[in-house]
């Protein structure tokens, strides 16, 4: 991949790779604006971003000329209601492409918990009512934000009507009919922050991120609030991966696109201490489905680090060779050898929310 989009607290940056390596490509777009999500649609090259203005609400922009110009489009909007706490869009947390057989269809996962679909490249949005009206919705709660949010949208490459969502905090949800109906899945996860009798409730889970292996989509990796999980049935059930050093806490996970037993993680101490273990930023990698992990740190800070890698800020390319990782401290690294060695692209970016290779 030759392009890397970097969505930050203060704008959308782009890095490109040329004969000399990676370089920042021009001035950032949307300077000083918080960019919360970015999609470079592999089907047609359209770039979409979500912005969260501190004052003026969430916005949605599209570029059809590779970022040279941008067009503001309507945001996903919640239905009007007379309820005193009626919902309003709080964040576009992720933007995902529909299937290869659904040109122009994109999905938006949002806070406060709504899934939106557009069939015209973001011109119009429709709230998925079947998910929004789930009887369990009153039990959904925020994980790090005031309200629940959808951060993971996995469209099964074998069947675009089959989708898996990760919601903080409402667990993992599956549709097999394109969103006409939903069922909570993700059995096997345990929420230590709930009372013991509720800890195994699939709806109470906080999967920080779900990521499926592109070539083996039944293999889904999960960095959960309380540990690392792996699924072999597209998220139906998960098995906890235990004894992970230096920590099983974090936000990000990258599933290898072709090797289902390989995944990378970016560990931190724990939920109440979101910094690297012993101040040493590392990446962990398993190649055997979670039985063992290696710790990778070449090229990452040698001194004490306080970097946290947020859920959408650790990504891989389509081959598994290239990885990119950005931190809330504004550091950005890439690896061209599957995470063995890392090169720092910048130490001076704003806090990084999301990355996207293109």
């Amino acid at each position: 991949m030759e392009n890397l989009h970097v969505a930050t607290r203060k704008g959308l940056f782009r890095f490109t790779r040329n004969g000399k390596g990676w370089e920042q490509a021009g001035a950032p777009a949307f300077l000083a604006e918080p960019v919360t999500a970015v999609l470079d649609d592999p089907r047609d090259g359209t770039i979409y971003i979500g912005i969260q203005h501190g004052h003026f609400g969430c916005k949605f922009h599209r570029s059809t000329d590779r970022g040279a110009t941008w067009q503001e489009l309507p945001t996903p909007a919640y239905a009007k209601s007379d309820a005193p706490d009626a919902p309003s869009l709080e964040m576009i947390w992720t933007i995902a492409p529909g299937g290869a057989d659904q040109p122009g269809t994109i999905w938006a996962g949002t806070i406060p918990g709504g899934l939106f679909r557009s069939d015209d490249r973001g011109e119009n949005w429709v709230l998925n009512e079947a998910l929004w009206n789930q009887p369990s919705r009153p039990e959904w709660f925020g994980g790090g934000y005031d309200h629940a949010g959808i951060h993971s949208i996995i469209v099964d490459p074998r069947d675009s009507a089959r989708m898996l969502l990760g919601i903080s905090c409402a667990g993992s949800w599956l549709t097999t009919d394109g969103g006409e109906s939903w069922q909570v899945v993700g059995n096997g996860m345990m929420a230590e922050y709930l009372p013991p009798e509720k800890a195994a409730d699939p709806v109470g889970q906080d999967p920080h991120l779900l990521h499926a292996s592109a070539a083996h989509p039944d293999r889904v990796w999960c960095q959960h609030h309380c540990g690392i999980y792996v699924s072999s049935d597209f998220g139906g059930t998960f098995t906890e991966v235990k004894d992970v050093k230096p920590s099983n806490f974090g936000f990000a996970v990258v599933a290898h696109p072709t090797l289902p037993d390989t995944a990378w993680f970016a560990p931190a101490v724990k939920d109440e201490c979101r910094v690297p273990v012993d101040g040493r930023l590392v990446v962990t990698r398993t190649d055997d489905g979670g039985k063992t992990f290696r710790t990778l740190s070449e090229g990452l800070p040698k001194g004490t680090s306080y970097d946290l890698i947020y859920r959408h800020a650790f990504v891989g390319d389509g081959t598994g060779r290239q990885l990119a990782m950005g931190s809330t401290t504004g550091n950005l690294w890439v690896s061209d050898d599957e995470g063995e060695k890392w090169a720092q692209l910048s130490a001076n970016l704003p806090p990084i929310a999301a990355l996207a290779f293109a």
């Binding site: 203005h53 501190g54 004052h55 003026f56 609400g57 916005k59 503001e72 309507p74 945001t75 909007a77 919640y78 009007k80 209601s81 009626a86 919902p87 309003s88 869009l89």
Partner: protein, 89 residues
């Protein structure tokens, strides 16, 4: 007609020339004045048509009281200022 004026901080996102609009309440004036630019409207009002949490509206120098229904009365020649709150920054 009342006149709606916008904080300069909005100008980098949308065209924000002063708008003349008629209405007896803030709701009436704002809806009439922003009807031609639904995207600009979205910078001022949320999905439920409430005033955004970190946006303020002043009528002739007085902050409005009803941020939910925008029912504050508006004199025919009032100046309405849409301002960015210091909160939320």
């Amino acid at each position: 007609m009342a006149t709606i004026r916008f904080t300069a901080n909005l100008a980098k996102h949308r065209e924000t020339r002063a708008i003349d609009a008629a209405g007896d309440t803030v709701r009436g004036v704002v809806e009439a004045g922003l009807a031609d630019d639904p995207l600009l409207r979205g910078y001022v009002l949320d999905d439920q048509d409430r005033l955004r949490k970190h946006v303020n509206i002043f009528i002739d120098g007085a902050m409005i009281a009803d941020r939910l229904r925008l029912s504050d009365p508006v004199a025919p020649d009032a100046d309405i200022y849409v301002m960015q709150a210091l909160s939320g920054g």
